[in-house]
Every structure is written in C-alpha cells, then in structure tokens.
C-alpha cells in the first residue's frame, strides 16, 4: 500500500472528519474538513504506530496535520532518518 493510501486509512479511522476522506484532495485543509486538536492527537499516535516513527517536539505544530501532503512530507522526513 502506498503511503498516501495508508495515511487516508488512518484519517478515516482517527481524524473524525465531518467530510468524507475519499472526496478530499491531498492538499485539502483537514481542519476545515472538521478535524479537532483532540482528534489530531489520536491521528498522531496512529501515524507513529503505523510508520514506526516518532514525531519530535519541533514538528508538533498545527500545520503538521494541515493536509495529507503535509503529513506525508513529515513521515518521509522521519523515515529518512532526519529528525
């Protein structure tokens, strides 16, 4: 499964969006799609578990979870070992 599809699956399970994840583009604003800061915590824990990474404090900003693209680039950066 490619990374974006995995991210979409995690969003479906944890982000509690009011919009349907399948209708969102990779750059769609997830906060406008109804994600709360509480949901973003669960989302982060699921991402860490799935991709076996740990988001460092410096990345834990609102914009990290802004879109599928922003999540993807953070995951890629961490998997490449640059933390």
């Amino acid at each position: 499964m490619d990374t974006n599809t995995e991210i979409r699956n995690i969003l479906k399970q944890h982000a509690k969006l009011t919009a349907d994840v399948d209708t969102l583009g990779d750059d769609a604003d997830l906060y406008q799609a109804g994600m709360t800061s509480h949901a973003s915590v669960n989302l982060m824990l699921a991402l860490e578990d799935t991709f076996n990474v740990e988001f460092p404090e410096r990345m834990l900003r609102r914009r990290l979870f802004e879109s599928i693209t922003s999540i993807r680039s953070a995951v890629d950066e961490l998997k490449a070992g640059g933390s």
Binding site: F55, E57, R58
Partner: protein, 385 residues
C-alpha cells in the same frame, strides 16, 4: 518602550485603586453591579488602551507592564481586575492579529473613546469546549448576521464591543471557527441566565441570547484556532493568574496588618499568628514566582507563533492556571485562619470574606478538571518539558 514607565503606570493604578476602587469594592460585591466608578477612573487615565501600540495613539505598554497592572488592580477589587483583564485579552487579540485597515482604525477608536471589549466564547449545547461552535456567521454580500446562545457574557451590557466565536460559515465544521467583533448599536442581548454568585459578583457574567449584524470587515482575518493558540490561551492564563496574584497579595497583606496590630498591643512578644504568617509568605512568594516566571516564558516566545502552538507550551500555560488558582484559594483560606473571626466578618477592616469568595471562582472558570483532562491528552504527544 511605551509612553509611560512601569513605575508611572503603577503609581496611577495604585492611586485609582486606593481612592476609587477599594472604597467601591464592597458595594460592587454586595449589589453584584458593574464597577462603573472604577472604569470611569481607568478611562480617564486612558488605561483601557494601555496595551494599544503608540502608532495608534495608545500608551503602548509592554506585556510585562500589562500583567503588573492586573496584579495591582487585584489588590483592590477582584471583579474590577477581572473585567480589566478580560477586556485586555480581547485587546491583545486585536493588537496581535488585527492587521487590517478596519482593525487598525478600531484601535484608534478604542483609544479615543476608551471602548470596553467583552467576549462571548462559550455556547449552549457545545459541552463547554470553547474550541467548537454551533452558531455560524451568515454572510450576505458585505454584511453578516450572527445569533448565539451564550450562557455567559461578562459585563455584556456594559461592553461597547463583544468578540464572538462562531463557525466560519453555514457549512463549516464545528471546530472551524472565526472571531467576530460585534458592536453595541448592532447587537441585541436578551437575558437568559442570572449572575447571583458566591464571588466575582461585579463581573456581571449573565447569560444572553445574542443577535448581531455587521460588516464582514469585522471578522478577524485569522482562524480562531490560530488566534487561540498564539494569543488568547496564553494571554488569558497569564493575565488571570496575574490578577489572582493581586488578590492573594491583598489577603496576605490583610493578615500582615492584623498581626502587626496584635504585636503593637503587646510590645516585646511575637503574636501567635506570626508563625503562620511566615508560612503564608512562603506560599505567596512561590505563587508570585510561578506567575511571573510563566509570564516571562510567554514573553520570550511571544513572536514565535510556531512555538506558541506546540503542545509543551500549551501544557505549561494550563499548569500555570491550575497551580495559581489552587494557591489563591489556599492563601486566602490560610490568611483567614491567621486573622480569625475578625476576618470572617464582612464589615471589619480585616475582612477576608470577599477575597475568599472571589478566590473560589478561580479553579472553576474553565474548570481545572477539564484542563487536566486536556493536559492528559496532550501529554500523550508532547515529547519534552
């Protein structure tokens, strides 16, 4: 920085406090009325715009000065200090995020007319989470209408403007909020809840059905999520705790004055309460260090909007609120033990009744248990202290 030094500012505040605010405090408390004489005096010294930058005509005081003013006011009347702090929280949102011609013009107007700003963030049916709204901004061309069932709008009937949270539009998610300035002439408030409380009675925090209209320029240009993370959350907690520090200082000063009077009655002996007073002063110093330290932490990263929105800083500000509100209650209760029955009387000059009743509001306004719940979630993701 600013047109007045901290010393000059505090001299003015203490003068107003001693001459106007303290003499009115008992009647404000008893009648649960707005401290109008306090605000007349504060307006005369242009204190409502003390934090507005000089370029718009304000005094342009530093954030540390603003916190010091809240602490000074807290020593005279908790309700007056709380209203002043709540007003300044709204002003800080405009100063820091209102970089549009409309909001720059509004700051000039605030200076000139010494306008008082209120806030309507809570809403019926949202379970107390101010980061979600049910009501929404209904746009029609350049204008909007807004209706909100607000269980609490402090000094709503006295405020010239109210900053209201609402969903950005009819289809926006509950967490996708805007902050909207509504003005007195365009706003109707129908009372729905009373405010006959144990303490903080002068804040007049009644509930209302709010109906307002206005121009779309009155909607702040940043999402409320950012505004809250970068400004409102930290400013609320640092200014509230600053004024609570003032109430605690007042209570401890009452105990000190009482012990001194006791000592004068029997020269050469140390009054029995003096030992407890020594303990009390330890606690007050700890509270002061906590409040002033956290305020300095905020000032240090105030312009780093990125760091402000991180979970560690949010937890830090939440901890400040929890710790200071608990310390305030403890300090006032312990001061009462020292002063004894004289402090228990409402009409004695060593009375601690109002301070203690006001103090009990601190752990409840945004309940500490709710904040601890938020922290326990954030601690799952925060990586360092």
């Amino acid at each position: 920085m600013g047109t007045l030094s901290r010393e000059e500012l505090l001299r003015k505040i203490h003068k107003i406090g001693a001459e106007v605010i303290r003499p009115a405090a008992a009647s404000v408390d008893k009648e649960a009325r707005f401290p109008r004489e306090a605000f007349e005096a504060l307006r005369a010294e242009k204190m409502l715009s003390v934090y507005v930058p000089e370029q718009f005509g304000g005094i342009g005081c530093s954030y540390a000065d603003l916190a010091a003013i809240c602490t000074a006011l807290g020593q005279y009347c908790g309700s007056t200090a709380m209203i002043f702090a709540m007003h300044q929280i709204q002003v800080a949102c405009i100063v820091r995020h209102g970089n549009t011609p409309y909001f720059q013009g509004y700051q000039r107007e605030l200076v000139e007319k010494q306008l008082l700003m209120g806030s309507a963030t809570t809403e019926e049916g949202i379970g107390g989470d101010v980061r979600t709204s049910s009501c929404h901004v209904a746009r029609d061309g350049d204008s909007f209408v807004l209706e909100k069932k607000a269980p609490v709008i402090s000094y709503g009937e006295e405020a010239d403007e109210i900053l209201v949270t609402a969903r950005r539009g009819p289809d926006a998610a509950s967490s996708d909020q805007s902050l909207v300035l509504v003005r007195k002439g365009d706003t109707v408030l129908e009372r729905t809840h009373t405010w006959d409380t144990m303490g903080m009675r002068g804040t007049c925090s009644l509930g209302y059905m709010l109906k307002a209209k206005g121009h779309v320029d009155q909607i702040l240009p940043v999402p409320y999520a950012d505004l809250s993370a970068q400004t409102m959350h930290a400013v609320s907690h640092t200014l509230w705790t600053s004024l609570w520090l003032g109430i605690a200082t007042d209570a401890v000063n009452q105990a000190r004055a009482y012990i001194r009077a006791e000592a004068r009655k029997k020269p050469g002996t140390v009054p029995p309460g003096a030992f407890r007073l020594a303990e009390l002063v330890v606690e007050l110093q700890s509270m002061r260090q906590g409040v002033q330290g956290a305020t300095r932490d905020y000032i240090e990263i105030m312009d780093d909007r990125d760091a402000l929105s991180g979970p560690s800083f949010t937890i830090r500000m939440n901890n400040l609120k929890i710790a200071a509100s608990r310390q305030l209650v403890r300090l006032c209760a312990d001061a009462l033990q020292i002063v004894g029955i004289t402090g228990y009387k409402a009409d004695s000059k060593y009375s601690l009744a109002r301070q203690l009743r006001d103090a009990y509001g601190a752990p409840l306004m945004i309940a500490n248990d709710r904040i601890l719940g938020n922290n326990s979630t954030l601690l799952l993701v925060a990586k360092d202290e």
